[in-house]
């Protein structure tokens, strides 16, 4: 399979002249009117920046899969497997959570220090959690959720993907293993072209 971009930029390399988008503060930075790489990255033909690796930092609207780990006062602390924890505020939910409950939600706001408040909480019953590097999540979801929808359809499983790198899967044991293998393959070759076709082929076998 072919590599998605052309050149690979290392931290410190000038990517192009211009302004660095705010949303990519962990990927690039600006110096003397030039955009400088901060992680290994590549450019697509239409000059879109694709990081080959990056770390997770919560942004409003990010989908999160987490595990309830503690109760702080009336609120709940959610472990996300990253440096930053989520909070479920008791006044914003009617649900009662116990330790080790799996929840899905969206980042409603981010507080100083990186702790974030979760909204639109949904409890996920059963299933199992699989962990991947957060930088690979966009590839697992695919363009317009094409990849994850295809995996769901072909294996008849339920899947929730968190931007934090936790993936919740529910289905038959055989299907779950199939999904996990497919995700492992995506993680390993996330920067190569033609992945969707390869995954489709793999799931049909």
């Amino acid at each position: 399979m072919e590599f998605i971009g052309e050149k690979i930029y290392l931290p410190g390399d000038v990517v192009f002249e211009g302004k660095a988008p705010r949303s990519l503060e962990l990927i690039v930075y600006e110096k003397d009117g030039k955009v400088i790489a901060s992680v290994p990255l590549t450019l697509t033909e239409d000059k879109r920046i694709i990081p080959l690796e990056s770390v997770f930092k919560p942004k409003v609207g990010d989908p999160i899969v987490g595990i309830v780990e503690d109760k702080r006062g009336p609120n709940f602390v959610v472990d996300t497997g990253t440096a930053y924890s989520g909070m479920i505020l008791a006044r914003e939910t009617k649900g009662i959570f116990r330790r080790d409950d799996v929840v899905f939600g969206k980042v409603a706001r981010v507080e100083e220090g990186g702790t974030f408040i979760l909204g639109e909480i949904r409890k996920l019953i059963g299933g199992r959690i699989f962990e991947v590097p957060p930088s690979k999540v966009p590839r697992i979801i695919g363009k317009g959720a094409s990849m994850v929808n295809m995996i769901k359809e072909k294996t008849k499983t339920q899947i929730y993907v968190g931007a934090n790198g936790y993936i919740w899967i529910r289905g038959s044991p055989k299907a779950t293993i199939k999904v996990m293998n497919a995700i492992k393959l995506i993680v390993r070759s996330s920067h190569l072209r033609g992945l969707t076709d390869r995954i489709a082929k793999m799931l049909e076998e």
Partner: protein
């Protein structure tokens, strides 16, 4: 350093192992993504040195009171395997030497990590020396930088290091074990690509002029290590590693 010996360290412009004055030891190989569970990792094989570096993080700061809301904490651990060289290493607690090296490598790494972008977190960098033949601190640092890139930690620039020394009156690149023991001076150094000196230590005896020449030689030759790091990252992400695995 400075031990008496009748070994002729340089003869006809060639060193003990047959290389020229300004040549690196061979092999000089770097590979990233060698550990499954680390967030980033690298393995360097540099002459007789074999070192694995693993990066874990950014993660929650423990103990909590160390947390800094303005920046990330970088902790480096340099360890020698008990079996890594003829001398005894790594028995029970970390030695004075490994604590010192952890600190100097950690400081160098912290100066290239954009710590203010990942506040309230902690990044752990482990470097384990499997086999040692002198110059391990700079080799470990060179591998650790590649592992940081592999982990996606935001970096300002890349960095690499080399030890320049004075042996039999000559300034030489990348000194090995015997040259370290019987030579006149050893000066490990690390640079980023802008030419900032991130690590500099020295023992032995050199004149100011020789130190200047050593620094210049180090800066000139560290460029080769930058391209080594680039090749390692390229090989990993272009899927060459995967091709090798599937064979």
């Amino acid at each position: 350093m400075g031990m008496e010996s009748d070994i002729e360290l340089i003869k006809d412009g060639k060193r003990l192992d047959g290389r020229g004055l300004y040549e690196f030891r061979k092999p000089l190989k770097l590979e990233v993504g060698v550990l499954e569970d680390a967030d980033g990792s690298a393995y360097i094989h540099w002459g007789g040195n074999k070192i694995v570096a693993g990066v874990y993080g950014p993660k929650q700061v423990l103990p909590r009171h160390l947390e800094d809301p303005n920046k990330a904490i970088v902790r480096a651990y340099y360890m020698m395997g008990t079996f890594s060289s003829i001398e005894e290493h790594g028995r029970s607690a970390p030695s004075r030497r490994s604590l010192e090296l952890s600190m100097v490598i950690g400081n160098a790494l912290e100066s290239i990590i954009r710590v203010e972008e990942i506040p309230s977190t902690m990044v752990d960098v482990y470097m384990v020396v499997l086999q040692a033949e002198g110059g391990t601190r700079v080799a470990a640092l060179t591998a650790a930088v590649a592992a940081l890139m592999n982990a996606g930690i935001p970096l300002r620039d890349i960095a690499a290091g080399v030890a320049v020394g004075k042996v039999a009156g000559e300034i030489v690149l990348d000194i090995g074990k015997e040259e370290d023991m019987y030579g006149e001076a050893d000066m490990p150094m690390a640079y980023d690509r802008e030419g900032n000196l991130l690590l500099l230590q020295m023992d032995g005896k050199m004149t100011v002029e020789e130190v200047r020449r050593a620094l210049e030689l180090g800066w000139e030759k560290v460029q080769e290590l930058f391209s080594l790091q680039r090749r390692a990252i390229e090989a990993y992400y272009r899927g060459e590693i995967e091709k090798k695995l599937s064979l």
